[in-house]
């Protein structure tokens, strides 16, 4: 059996939606259990006192990346069917900036705001409402922003293609970067605790 199952017609659209629901519930559960529904914990990474978010996200990236590489290598997954989002340089830069400002101000990102809201936290509910309003405003104003939204496209590019390095080389560099950042994170957290004590 080869993945991705939906693209290869092995599961129906309805089945894919049910699976997505289950995966979403599991994702939210583990985020909440990891404490990422708490805005203070999320904001603390910007003050270098609690870098749990960095460790969680980098762990997820490394796990998914190694899984994709080796499942593809073993013929269990057709990597060419895994969708790669096209890159639009300027809109993505601006979007990332807006996302970063919102994240620091609110202490929650879109996913964790849902987690926070689901546990009854008021800040999560307010941020979720703000996010929905922002989505509404963006859609209403889309005819005005469409030219910028579609500007500077460079297609579906990946790091191996962009820099002319092998996929495996990129995997090794990312894993080494992740492990190095974990070590650095531990030292920064220890320094932050010592400063606060």
């Amino acid at each position: 059996m080869t993945a991705p199952f939906f693209e290869l017609g092995m599961i129906t659209e309805n089945a894919s939606l049910v699976i997505a629901l289950g995966l979403g519930v599991a994702f939210g559960f583990f985020l909440e259990r990891g404490g990422l529904g708490n805005a203070r914990k999320l904001a603390a990474q910007f003050y270098l006192t609690d870098l749990a978010v960095l460790k969680v996200m980098f762990s997820a990236i490394v796990t998914a990346m190694l899984g994709l590489f080796w499942f593809s290598k073993l013929g269990l997954l057709d990597l060419e069917l895994v969708y790669v989002l096209p890159t639009f340089v300027a809109p993505h830069l601006v979007g990332g900036l807006v996302f970063g400002v919102g994240f620091v101000m609110g202490g929650l990102c879109p996913g964790t705001s849902c987690v926070s809201a689901s546990t009854g936290r008021i800040d999560g509910l307010v941020l979720l409402a703000g996010m929905m309003f922002g989505i509404f405003v963006f859609n209403e104003a889309f005819p005005l922003v469409a030219p910028f939204y579609n500007s500077t496209p460079i297609g579906q590019v990946t790091i191996p293609e962009l820099f002319g390095v092998s996929h495996g080389g990129v995997v090794l560099l990312v894993v080494l970067g992740a492990l190095g950042s974990f070590v650095l994170a531990e030292r920064l957290e220890a320094r932050g605790r010592a400063r606060d004590s």
Binding site: E7, L8, G9, F69, K73, V175
Partner: protein
Amino acid sequence: MTPNTLLTGAALTLAVLAAVAGSPFPVDADYGSADRGAVIDVVDVAQWIRDQRDGLQIVDVRAAQSFARFNIPTARNIPIAELGVSGLDTAGVVVVYGDTADVEEGARAILGALGFDSVFVLPSGADSWVAEILNPMVPRDASEAERTAFDRVAELSRYFGGLPRVVDRVEFDQSARVSLEKTLRRGCAF
């Protein structure tokens, strides 16, 4: 040995092996086939249809409404999600077209994964057919070579009920659009 140490060791081992392996694609994958994912010209497709090329399968992955409004002769409307159960002949030649390059590329990749060796993408197939087969135009001041190429397309166009024209300026103007509407209402013999 703690779980963190085990996981770190496993990640490092897999990463080093990945660097040695280089590519994530299986060893026997034929990703260099010239036939896999080639882009084909609409005039060649028209010639194949007219010549009733053996094993030719035209696949339209657009929505049913778009297909019902207009489709390339002999095309089958197969949603991308149903390509795996479509009953297409893997030994035949498949020409796939859709609405966007992303959709067409996705369909091509799926067909390749399903074992189809000869898959061609006809970019914006329906629009290309309307513009280049049903409404081919050549400027009055065209060169000898352009006229010769146009004569080939014109013959194909007339075969499929199109309207080849010699014009002052080549553009898809309103009169051509009127011609298209008449063609759509009339329908094709296929």
